[in-house]
Symmetry: C2
DNA sequence: AATAATAGTGAGTACTCACTCACCATTAAA
DNA sequence: TTTAATGGTGAGTGAGTACTCACTATTATT
């Protein structure tokens, strides 16, 4: 319903002062909705035009190809979803505050990403589906993950390991468990079983709790 | 390379003594490979025919529609992947052996599903991709999960909770964490980063270890 | 007021798609 | 040997497909 969220992302990421005309916005809205529902490959440009209340030619005035339309939609999602996973803001906070612990960090990340996911279900669906088939999307994802997310995450985990708060797994493993658990929760919550009646507060707390038990120093058994 | 695994599944599940002719087998092999690579919607029947070394008409001699071909391929995967997740054999073992604990069960399940995933990467890719768009697949999955997997899993978890081995989360949450962690590992291992150099033994052990720490009674903090 | 740039149009184009069908080949039953 | 059933063929079909282009409408610049 609240499509503005999508479009603001486009504008910001689309380079400087890119202002969308009403019809351009309609095209993006329509494309997002149908791509999420039926998938990119089985969505026709005529269908998008029809839903957007626009002539088919108008789509190609703004996007050279159907694929360019997809990329325009998907690329900003990668940045917006992945980067705040470990934004500078958080990391700085961790290293400055002496009281900060991994649990606190987890709580902030999960809350943050929960709200993002809630507002952008269709976009996340498209990203998950189309990542498998388009090398441009894979590339974009790898760039963001390798350059933005992984280094900061790695640093943070080693910080907490040095303080004896986290188990001595390789930091890649801790990153994997953390991301896997959070994504697993969000995907179950918003994509696999969105209609179940969730107690979100309780579920978020349990997820943090589970992660902390799994990753805390002191709970280790052997190797 | 070892395509026989796929085809045996088809035969067994395809009803009684369904014997595939060489050309039929070639069609399935080709379809599985291309579906996994490019996705169902962007795979043409002419492409499948060409790769299988068969006339296009031959496909439609055996499958009324392109979609029927997809369903024939995907349906057995759901059963084969989901059911042994909690096969009777395992569950019986758990209730009979007094020494059995959740860790032992986890170890069996993970080993088992790891080998299955290893042998059936393309089929799992197709299932993950197409589940989102085809209600027949969703239905099939829900049937299997609700009737076969969930009840046994639920029972087992309550059994271990009663014995004080598992944390007192709702059993749905324990199921979710367990499946999420295992699937997260398998998907990372075989689909997202299949080319990284994995130490599979160590990674399997760590995954079990992480899950046990996260779910064991005694590690609880509050709530 | 004249010019130019941008947004929007929709009929048209070349092509691909899933699917059909009349026909041949091989084996099995009568 | 005839009949029937099944497997296999590939040219043909109509319904789309992404994309183009000559054109109009609107706004901004000179």
């Amino acid at each position: 319903m609240d499509e503005k969220d999508y479009l603001n992302q486009m504008i910001e990421a689309g380079g400087k002062d890119a202002e969308l005309t009403p019809k351009q916005a309609k095209i993006l809205e329509a494309a997002i909705e149908i791509f999420a529902e039926r998938g990119y490959a089985s969505t026709s440009t005529s269908e998008i035009a029809k839903k957007a209340g626009v002539a088919e030619g108008t789509i190609f005035r703004h996007y050279k190809t159907k694929k360019e339309l997809l990329i325009t939609i998907v690329k900003p999602v990668i940045t917006k979803f992945a980067v705040p996973f470990f934004a500078t803001h958080f990391v700085n906070q961790v290293f400055n505050e002496k009281t900060a612990d991994y649990e606190e960090l987890l709580r902030k990340i999960i809350r943050n990403r929960f709200e993002f996911a809630q507002k952008n279900v269709p976009l996340i669906k498209i990203l998950l589906q189309e990542m498998a088939f388009h090398t441009e999307i894979q590339q974009s994802y790898q760039d963001v993950f390798k350059k933005e997310v992984f280094p900061r995450f790695d640093e943070t985990i080693k910080h907490f390991q040095a303080r004896g708060q986290l188990v001595n797994y390789p930091s890649e493993a801790i990153i994997r468990f953390t991301i896997t658990t959070i994504l697993g929760f969000l995907i179950t919550r918003f994509i696999v079983m969105p209609k179940a009646d969730w107690n979100d507060e309780a579920e978020i707390n349990r997820t943090i709790h589970f992660l902390m038990n799994g990753l805390s120093k002191g709970n280790e058994e052997r190797l």
